[in-house]
Each structure stands twice: as C-alpha cells, then as structure tokens.
C-alpha cells in the first residue's frame, strides 16, 4: 500500500526526465546464523546451477526479511535520501541496486553506470604508491586506462596529495587515504552515485569540497542515492527521501517530512508510549508527611491537559498536592532524564534554586513550573519530582514518564533554542560619494 503511494509523488514532479533507477517491489532475506547462512548460500548455488527455481519468495528456517517490497524511482539528476536506523536495510538496498547481490523478489532496472561510494579505496594495496593505486582503483570502478590518464591530475588535485603521490599508501594518514578514495570515486563521473555514510571523511575543508563536487555532478545530471543515519546530511543534499525501518518502506516524500517521522519514531521505539498524566493514590494521615503529591501532568497556557508537550511551545508542569498543614518555603524539584538517548540527566530544576520559596495552604494546591518554551527535544523522558523544605522531604515521585513531540526539525540539536531570523541592512549598494 505504501508502494502505490510512492511512485506518483516521486514521478509527478519529474516525469519528463528519464528514470535511471527503477526499484520494483524488491525483497531480500537474510539469515542470522552464520553456519546456516553459508549452507543456504551453497543450497542457492546448487539450485541455480541445476536450472531449478529458487523459492526465493519464501523464508527458510531462521531467515528474516532484510527488505520487503520496496519500490521507488530515481530520475536523472535526482538526489534521493535513504534514512533509517542501523540495520534498517539501507546498505542491503544499495548493494542490490549496484548489482552485487540478487534480490529475492521484484526487480531493479538501472540505466547507466553505477559507482558505489560505499567502497572508498576498494582495492587499495597499502604497499603500492598512490599513483599505482589510483590506476587500480579507478579501473575497478570501470574506467578505461586512457580515461584514467586523462583525469589523473584532477584526482590528485582534488585529493591534495601532490607530494605523497609516489609514496606507498600505507604511509598515508587515514584522512589522506580517504581523500584519495573519494577523489577516485567521484572522478569516475558515473550516471548514478551511491553514497553510503562516506561524507564524514576528512576535515571540514575537505567535506565542503566534497559537497561542492557532488553539487556539480548533480548539475551535470548524475543521480544520487545518499544513505545516512544522520538525517542532517541528507537534508542538505536531497529533496526527496525514503525512510526504511526493519526492511519496510515507512514513508517517502519530501525530506523534511520524512525526517520528522523518522525522528519521532526514533524517540518512541522501544519505549511504551507515556501516558502524559500520573495520578497517585491518596495516603492515609499516618503515612503522610504533611504534603502529598496526588497528580502530575503537563498543561498548556489555558490550563488544558497536555498529553505531550511540544518542543518550542509553552508548557506548564503541574504538580497537584493535598496539604495537611500550611507550609512556608516549600521547594519543588524536578530532575529530568532522557530515556531516548544515553539516559542522561538533562534538566535539574528546583524552585529553591531560583530563590522561589512556595507558600502552601492546607487543602488541594497545584504547584506549577511554567515554561514559556519547552526546550526539550522530542523524546521520552522520566522526571523525578519532589517537594521539600530544607532537607525535609514531604513527598517524592521517582519517575513520571512523559513524551515530548515536535513540529519543527531539531535534528542534531541538543535542546530547543527560541530564535528569530533577521537581516539588518547596514548600507545600500551604491558607493558613498567622495
């Protein structure tokens, strides 16, 4: 069903250009157990050699679908982002497109030469010089010798290794070797470039150079598929993306939309979704220490319950209590840990720390922490909430779990920064007359 959605959105804008990659309902199965996997490999070879049909659309014992029914199209000059967590099947998909492995169902049609940037420096021999390795590497990528000769100087210029070109590659720094590999691959100038997490090589200056080169190739009509689990780099290059998760195509379309979905799923995966409100049973008078927390939730400015606060929007942390006595100088504290990432403490806020001592009268009271902007990025959090006076604790809630959602992209941000953008004209373009 996703499949039928994909094609119109992708081809509607660009049906006048030719399709260079057409992926049609492909699936691929893998086996986790190595011994079994090797045995299945031999079995497949034997079946193929005897001219029988592999029942490739059915899973054998211990196999799983690494990719299932994926379809999309890439036109000439397009850049498609492939987003997904580790093990989502991105690299498998690239390997099928480059023809390294056969799909188990469906078909892939490729028009043009494919250069995989999966393989930076494939075939580099550390003993040989940079010069010799350029010839071997570009030859493997399918370039005839006279073409290599023609582009040789461009490659060295790009990789910036003029003085080291006749030294063995094993004497190169890892950055130099990576630069040489990248330079070889982009100077093959293929019709289709498959880029797998390689734009992270080299220093910032070289990275910019890579991006410029890729932009130039794209202008010349090279189609890209860019794989990354860091959506930010996809955002810079690709206008359209597809999002894979556990071998399934989840969404396809505009990169921003796809990334938003990916980030939300990333935060929620593995955690049961938080309820947004916590109600605590009433304590008996003998159990109580004078002030009992009865309910914790988030509210918006109008006082309505917020199931999930939104990044960048106002939110109020509301702690409802039953006070048995009047308290002067109560201290509300909240320790917020992120459950999506490394379980780090992200916020530790106390009213006493802000010199705000709260006065509580007997009866039902609501203590509020008002946040003009919720600065937390999307994710699942756990808050430890307590009310104290000095070192005396009235009540502690060990874990109030809540989810923060977002309508804005916060990729690569640690927190939400409220901001506005502005241009200030300092002078007009005419030169001052002297």
């Amino acid at each position: 069903m996703t499949v039928t959605n994909v094609e119109p959105t992708m081809s509607a804008s660009a049906d006048d250009r030719e399709t260079v990659i057409a992926v049609d309902r492909i699936s691929k199965k893998f086996c986790r157990d190595l011994k079994q996997s090797l045995f299945y490999g031999v079995q497949d070879i034997a079946t193929d050699l005897t001219g029988r049909r592999r029942k490739s659309d059915r899973l054998r014992n211990g196999e799983f679908w690494a990719l299932k029914d994926i379809s999309f199209r890439v036109q000439r000059g397009d850049a498609l982002g492939l987003i997904g967590a580790n093990g989502a099947g991105k690299s498998t998909l690239l390997r099928i497109i480059s023809g390294l492995i056969k799909p188990d169902t469906g078909s892939v049609t490729i028009a043009g030469r494919v250069a995989p940037l999966i393989a930076l420096g494939a075939g580099f021999n550390p003993i040989l010089t940079g010069r010799e390795n350029i010839y071997a590497n570009m030859s493997i990528l399918g370039l005839p010798t006279r073409e290599i000769k023609r582009r040789f100087d461009q490659v060295i210029d790009f990789a910036e290794i003029w003085e080291a070109i006749d030294a063995p590659v094993q004497t190169y720094s890892s950055g130099m070797a990576a630069r040489l590999g990248f330079a070889c691959a982009v100077h093959v100038e293929p019709e289709i470039l498959l880029i797998d997490e390689v734009l992270s090589v080299g220093d910032i200056k070289f990275k910019m150079k890579c991006h410029q080169k890729l932009a130039k190739l794209r202008e010349q009509g090279t189609a890209f598929i860019l794989v990354s689990h860091n959506p930010h780099s996809v955002l810079n290059v690709c206008s359209e993306s597809i999002y894979l998760s556990k071998g399934q195509l989840i969404t396809a379309g505009k990169t921003e939309t796809v990334i938003r979905q990916y980030e939300q799923d990333l935060c929620l995966s593995g955690n049961e979704s938080a309820i947004g409100m916590m109600v605590l049973p009433a304590k008996s008078r003998s159990e109580s220490l004078g002030l009992d927390i009865t309910q914790i939730c988030f509210k918006d400015e109008q006082g309505n319950l917020l199931a999930a606060p939104m990044t960048g929007e106002p939110a109020i942390l509301s702690v409802e209590c039953w006070a048995h006595e009047s308290i002067v100088g109560a201290n509300l504290g909240a320790m917020i840990k992120s459950l999506s990432g490394e379980h780090d403490l992200v916020l530790y806020l106390t009213s006493a720390g802000d010199d705000q001592l709260l006065e509580v009268q007997p009866g039902v009271v609501e203590l509020q922490m008002q946040m003009p902007y919720c600065g937390l990025i999307p994710g699942v959090y756990s808050a430890k909430i307590y009310i104290r006076k000095g070192v005396y604790s009235f009540d502690i809630v060990e874990s109030f779990r809540f989810t923060v959602k977002s309508q804005c992209t916060t990729s690569r941000c640690q927190f939400y920064q409220p901001r506005t953008w502005n241009v200030v004209q300092k002078s007009d373009s005419t030169l001052p007359e002297i």
Binding site: G41, R53, L100, P103, I110, P116, A122, G123, E132
Partner: protein, 281 residues
C-alpha cells in the same frame, strides 16, 4: 545511455542467450582491469620482499638439491630419467609449481578480493584472469632457471620445444579450472584453502615430478589416472626429447579442460552473487 541492466531473482541459466552475451561482454570489459590487477599484484608481491623474483626459482632449486641428495644416498631410487636427475627434478618441479600456483591462485585471489567484491560490482572474471597472468609471469622467471639448467647440463633440445608452450598452457588452464571451481566455496568455507594445501601436497606424490612415470603397481595405476600426468609429462617431453609417450591421454585431458573451463566459468558467474551476499561488506 551506455547500457541498461535489470537485476531479478531469476536464475541466469534460465536465459542462456543473455547469459552468454553477458559473459562475452564481461570478458572484454575484464581485460583491462585484469591487466591492472596483475600489475598491481606482481609489483606488490615483489616490493615487500628482499629476494624478490628469486622466490620463483628458489623452491625448485631446493627441491632438486633435496631429492638429488636423497637419491645419491640411495634412500630412494627414482629410476631412470630422460634427463640428468637434478635437471629432471628442477624442470618438473617448475612445471608442477606452476600448476599448483594455477590451482591456488583463483582461490586465494577471490578470498583476498573479498572486501572489493562485497562493495563494487566489476567483471569478476578479471580476478581470475589477473591470476592466470601472474602464474604466466612467474613461469617466465622460472624459464630463466630452466634455460640455465639446459645449458649447464648440455641437454639436447628437439624442435618440438616450440610446441611446449601449448602443453604448458593446457597445464595452467587445467589448474585454473580446478581453482576457479573451488573459489566460490573457498570464500564461504575456510576448509577449502586448508584442504587445498593438503591435497596439492598429496597430489605431488601421484605426479611424476621427482620420479619418472611408473608403469606398475598401485602407484602406476594412480599416476596414470592422474589428469596432471599427461599434461606435465607432455610439456616436459616436448621441451626435451620430442618423443611423446602420453599423446592420446594428453588430448583427452585437454578436451576435458576446455569443456570444463566453460562450465567452470558459468558456475563461477552463477555462484558469486550468492557468495557475496553471505559475506558482509
């Protein structure tokens, strides 16, 4: 557009015409790459080595010295050979070694190229061709030793020596056939390369390298069944006496080799995608 490819799950044998077309195309495309890979491998092989190309001639020399001492001490009696015994051993060992290199070459090369195979789609025939070329190159160096040997022992050469390369090529091709057939499995299972070392060691005893062709007993029967025997013996006889003792067997094995090579090539092509999908990149 340069060309259009479709990748499907279907077995290639179901479309033999397309298969042979693709094989031919890849063979042409593989030539230049094979040359590059060969140059790369040969230069790398000799660069990180002090003795360099002498490694091509040291093993036959050592082998000849060892067996000559053993036969002089009457520990083992090789029987009558066409050539002086040290020359016989050295020449035969050179041939045998070339065969063993041709067997091991494809297996080792494909295993070594695993990272490359797992990431780039290139005509995989190039790996095998490069290895065949390397075997040829190494033999050319051994040839220097052989020529020196012939001069030293004043061995008479018949005009048939110009045909000797034919037999030699058949010998290399037969070795390549065995190696190529095993190479896909060799990537999957280490047993292949281990077993191969052992098997070629045993195979040497069944081949008339350090002894002349025996005509009786179990050994005689086994040596006659050994397909390497006619190829190696014919190459040796063409280069020296010019009298062929195993001509019919030679042509039978050669025929099998050429037919087998074609089948091996198809097998190799069919098997490699399945092998690559089992090794991670």
């Amino acid at each position: 557009m340069p060309y259009r490819v479709v990748h499907t799950p279907e077995g290639m044998l179901r479309h033999p015409k397309q298969l042979f077309h693709a094989m031919w195309r890849d063979l042409l495309a593989a030539r230049e790459l094979a040359w590059r890979l060969m140059v790369r491998d040969i230069s790398a092989q000799y660069r990180q080595s002090f003795l360099g190309i002498f490694w091509a001639v040291i093993p036959p020399l050592v082998m000849a010295i060892g067996f000559t001492i053993a036969s002089d001490a009457q520990i083992f009696q090789p029987g009558v050979t066409d050539l002086p015994y040290p020359a016989y051993v050295m020449f035969s060992t050179s041939l045998w070694q070339t065969f063993v290199e041709a067997v091991n070459g494809p297996v080792q090369a494909v295993i070594l190229a695993k990272p490359m195979l797992a990431r780039v789609n290139f005509p995989r025939e190039a790996i095998i061709l490069a290895k065949v070329g390397e075997v040829g190159f190494n033999f050319a160096i051994k040839l220097l030793l052989i020529v020196a040997l012939f001069i030293y022992y004043k061995i008479a050469v018949s005009w048939t020596v110009i045909l000797a390369p034919v037999a030699l090529i058949h010998l290399i091709l037969f070795g390549t056939l065995v190696g190529t057939l095993l190479s896909p499995l060799g990537v999957l299972y280490q047993d292949i390369s281990r077993g191969l070392t052992m098997a070629t060691g045993f195979w040497l005893f069944l081949t008339p390298v350090v002894y002349p062709v025996p005509d009786q007993g179990l050994l005689g029967a086994l040596v006659k069944l050994n397909p390497v025997t006619p190829l190696l013996v014919t190459a040796r006889e063409l280069a020296t006496t010019g009298v062929l003792s195993l001509a019919p067997q030679f042509w039978i094995v050669s025929g099998i080799t050429f037919l087998g090579l074609l089948i091996t090539w198809v097998t190799f092509r069919l098997a490699m995608p399945y092998v690559i999908e089992r090794v991670s990149s």
